[in-house]
């Protein structure tokens, strides 16, 4: 269970997050949606302890992120950040194996190799496992980084715009894989995602941020209304139900 209590964050006296409170039960996919600059990435970075938490408390399964040793948290939380440049020259396989570091501490065992192989297969990377990261396309790199995060095998997986650089097919495959991981392995996945239809199709819950505050929160069906979307994005859309699923039409 994730608890976020009274979290605020300022950058040079500008309030990015303003008293955020929510809690999420273990399991399922939650999407954080909202306009640019709403504070979504900042919230994820705070949760993953990449930024210092000045105000408020965040805990995962009652482990406070400020008090728990980093090595323990590494088995609890993993995060895919938006920019993932690595200056070191690594192959896909080496990169994904680094994701296992919290478990093997530098000495990969049989189980680690097996896990990495599964993740490479899941992300359709097995054919390019021995290529160097800097020689891959943007989409291939993105999948390699996702594979690295997933091979960390943490209970909570935070992904900041995982569909960046991905074509339709790979975007869908990754969302399907995430759904599978959430359902079969009982992982909690939290996404920051811009395509509202993608989010609606694969998520259980929505948390909508705007100007550093949570303005709407709830199940996908409850949040996906014309009034809510207009409140979040200042934009009018048509919501239509097709085969029992709600879709937002905003292309015209």
């Amino acid at each position: 269970m994730i608890k976020v209590q009274n979290v605020s964050k300022e950058f040079s006296e500008k309030l990015i997050l303003d008293d955020i409170n929510f809690s999420l039960d273990k399991g399922g996919i939650t999407s954080i949606i909202g306009p640019n600059g709403a504070g979504k990435s900042t919230l994820l970075s705070l949760m993953a302890r990449l930024m210092p938490l000045d105000q408020g408390q965040i805990s995962f399964d009652d482990l406070d992120i400020k008090q728990t040793p980093s090595g323990v948290l590494a088995k609890k939380i993993s995060i895919l950040t938006q920019s993932n440049h690595i200056s070191a020259r690594l192959t896909v396989l080496q990169l994904v194996m680094f994701g296992r570091f919290p478990h093997h501490k530098g000495r990969p065992q049989q189980a680690d190799h097996a896990h990495v192989a599964r993740m490479l297969e899941l992300m359709e990377l097995d054919e390019i496992a021995d290529r160097f990261i800097d020689q891959l396309s943007g989409g291939q790199q993105q999948r390699a980084y996702i594979a690295m995060i997933l091979s960390q095998d943490s209970d909570y997986i935070l992904l900041d715009e995982p569909l960046n650089n991905l074509d339709m097919k790979h975007a869908r495959n990754i969302m399907k894989s995430l759904r599978k991981i959430a359902d079969e392995m009982n992982k909690s996945i939290i996404l920051v995602i811009h395509d509202i239809n993608f989010a609606a199709a694969y998520s259980d819950l929505f948390i909508a941020l705007k100007d550093g505050k949570i303005i709407v929160q709830g199940s996908v069906d409850d949040v996906m209304t014309e009034a809510n979307i207009e409140l979040i994005y200042d934009m009018q859309v048509d919501i239509k139900t097709i085969d029992g699923k709600k879709h937002a039409f905003y292309y015209t």
């Binding site: 993953a48 302890r49 990449l50 040793p69 980093s70 090595g71 323990v72 948290l73 590494a74 088995k75 939380i77 993993s78 995060i79 950040t81 440049h85 690595i86 200056s87 070191a88 020259r89 690594l90 080496q94 680094f98 994701g99 570091f101 919290p102 501490k105 530098g106 000495r107 995060i149 960390q152």
Partner: protein
Amino acid sequence: MFKQDKYIISALVVAALVCMIIFLTYQTQGKWSYVLTLRGTKIIGLVLIAIAIASSTIVFHTISHNRIITPSIMGFDALYIFIQTVLIFFLSVQEIQSISPTLRYFINLALMIAVFISLFYFLFLRSNRSIFLLALTGIVMGIFFRSMTNFMIRLLDPDSFSTIQGLLFSSFGSISNELLSISALLIFICLVIIYKVRFQLDILALGREKAIILGVNYKKLVFMLLTIIAILVSVSTALVGPITFFGLLVSNLAYLIIKNQNHVNLLVTACLIAIITLLVGQFTFEKLLELQGTLSVVIECLGGITFIWILLRTHKR
């Protein structure tokens, strides 16, 4: 890929051993015990310096994610000269000579480590890790220390001035014997610690965010490594004086040879290359050309050329 590294390292070990044997036995006259002690101490000194400079440079590169800036390019030699000058400026020559060399060494070491750590801690952990800022600050600090030194030297009497000159020019030929064992101990402790965190070094090379996500206590680890770098650089500078480009030379040779990011292999290779370079250089100058004290100039020249070459190559990319 790792197998290839093993062959390279074995070959380097053999080369280093051959260098040592030649250095020990070439044109020996008189009693063996005397010759071996004399040359043996010299070899130990050179090996210690080589290891200290090579490993501190590699670790610094990993922390700062660059392969150009080394602790010495950051103006560390200037700091060394500055501390020497300050000591002589405020104490008389007699007073300095009345302090035992070991104590003087420790005072020197303590001062340098203190200044170095505070500089790097504030610069490095509070500057958003911008390499350019770090480099520029280092260069400005170097200029500051040099100007202060020049100013103080102008006010010195000729006696103190000649003492200072003796301290300022590095010399691989005249390493003080009694300080070797202390230095060896310090370097050994540093190496043990580096070896203990070798896997975390590999993770650190991925960048700050990835290191934190993978459970490395980033701040603590970086602070500890900076302390180790400070000790290693201080030890080598205190032993032979300032050498700016040597670390850059050997670390980049190691990066050329070892193509992956395995830090144990990188560190071992860089240390071996450094040992071979120093031994071959010292041997050539001392025995073949019968010159004294000019090795540092040649090494600086080669290292300087490497520095410019790397700068140009990076720029092209």
